[in-house]
Amino acid sequence: MKNNILIIGGGPAGLEASAQLQRMGYNVILIEKAPKLGGHLAKWDRLFPDSVPADEVLGGLLRSAEGVKCFTDTDVRAINRLDKSYNVRLTNGITVLSDAVLVASGFDLFDAVKKEEYGYGIYDQVMTNADLEAYFKTGSDKRIENPGRIGFAHCVGSRDEKSGCRSCSKVCCATAVKQAIEIKQAFPKAEVYCFYMDLRLFGRHYEDIYLKAQKEYGVRFIRGRLAEVSENYDGTLQVKAEDTVAGKPLKVTLDLLVLMSGMRPSASGKAIGDLLEMTVEEDGYFAVRSGIAAGQRSPIPGIFLAGAATGPKTLPETLADARAAAMEIDRYLTEIFPDAKNYKQLVRERW
């Protein structure tokens, strides 16, 4: 018998897990609330550290997930737990009886408007990392017109308890360095400043792009959180930070400010979590069975998690997490699920 598996979220994690589970012979149903698959990846132009086109990666994911039953523009309306399986009613009217549910609800980008002092949505020349990616993709944005001085503010909505997020979003430093290089490539005469608190360039080749940004593109890295942005008479921005290395307050006039919005738990993911009565930790991301040994299992048997639903992850980490989740689902559906008699016992022992 082919087990039904419902995957919630058609971003990279959902797509990768669908492809893997389909290969294993399961009957996969993938739902995505947006009209298009791909999640944030679909909105991105190039990916760090090697500036690989995002479309290329997404294309690969979509191709390998071909044949998976996909419902876009679809959300979960209700979920009932049956004995072992889940009865899921979708917003498109379809009801799915699923033996395992994978929540790959991803993340939301922090709403930069909330950092009022940065003036996103108020000053003309402030944009976010997502806006800049959109510019790279489409080549047009009224804010970008041969800017002379460009600033990147790291940690917007990350490592900021006042924004409700204590933790690091993991991807913004590398994204900022990547975007700094790309904007320098687009406007070679521009001066680019990155305002950072710590440069968290932990991954392979990340340090290389940092060095490249300094050496080849002359990007200036200033250690200090951007504190205040105001608009000058001519529409340029005056930004203030402390250069904490120099131990002095600093100001500079910018033509463009890019805010590196961090990752926040997905709001729609949380709604699904509420339906499933899933535990959410203090940081807003879903709790897992064990952060080290069972990072893809939720505390509820049969509910699995993958990708940024359990905290900020880079794309390769998300994909690896999705593959791991597929393995976990397979293990559950072959070792625990079929044994109806000892199901509860097995769940206690092995979940």
């Binding site: 408007v113 949505g121 108020i122 608009e231 008479y233 005056q238």
Partner: protein, 355 residues
Amino acid sequence: MIYEGKQKIWSEYQKEIPDDHYFYVRSCIRQSFFPASEATFLDITRNRLGKDIFETEHHTTCGGIAYHSDTIPQETVMTIIARQFALMAKNGYENYVCSCITSFGLYCETMETWREFPELEAKIRENLWKTCKLEFAKPKFLIHASDLIYKYRNLIAAQAVRKLVNVHTGEPLKVVEHIGCHYSKMFPSKGVGGAEYPYVLTGMIEAWGGEIVDYPERRHCCGFGFRQYFIKGNRGYSLSNTHKKFESMEPFKPDLIITNCPGCPYFLDRWQYVIAESTGKTYGPDGHGIPALTYEEVAGLVMGYDPWDLGLQTHQIGPEPLLDKMGVEYDPAKKYLGKNGKNIGEPLPCTCLKG
């Protein structure tokens, strides 16, 4: 500047302001700096808007200046405040309106502290009983006097005889709004419009036909800074801070600065004189300064009060160019005549700053 973006933020920082029956407490320093402002406030609220506003001669300083200068402990300050609250309760009021921003901030701070540490509130209650044999009740609404004017800005506009418009060009006057630091920077939710883009004064200017100027250093302190001013060795820092603000607003060519704090109009006014006389730099047109007025003075001007009744002669920066722009009629001969018709004394002419 994206106006809609600001509106969105303003909509998130709205504050409930009661309709009537206010207990009013004056500001220590405003009474001596710009005494007519508080008088005008009472006149507008009582006589023009017909509100019940009560004040008692028994209220004292809130202790804020001493507190911010680190000369008295917090518990002392809280006990003083508790006494003011007791006066309010004794007189049957629960809407506490203060004229001073320092006081407003301190009241907010005290109430928040009590909320977090109820045992402290209990202790203060005990202190107050021991010292004054009084019992206090916390105000139901704690508001600043400018919140009230903000609330009635449209009523005032309806009674206005003129707008904040240059009568010669028809252009709205460019107004810099300067909020006292302790109005909303400590507790953004306690101020109308929050801390980053406060709306309390902006709302008045918009209602009265002026145009708000959003200059880069608008968030900064006027320069008073308590210890920065009080200690002469630090006074250069106070001056430098004000100087930074004027350098920043200069390109916008503002016609007027509106403030809601006791110290701000004073320092934005007097330091222009010091900057002019020590460096030769003036910020208004033709060697004049930029008038820094209180919101009551601005309200009074639009409502047709006589400028000398509003106390505009107590400003270092001469108000005449502004009055001319607004089309306000005034008698120059009466500028330095007191209420009793006697000369109140005239300042010596300045070298650099034009009167």
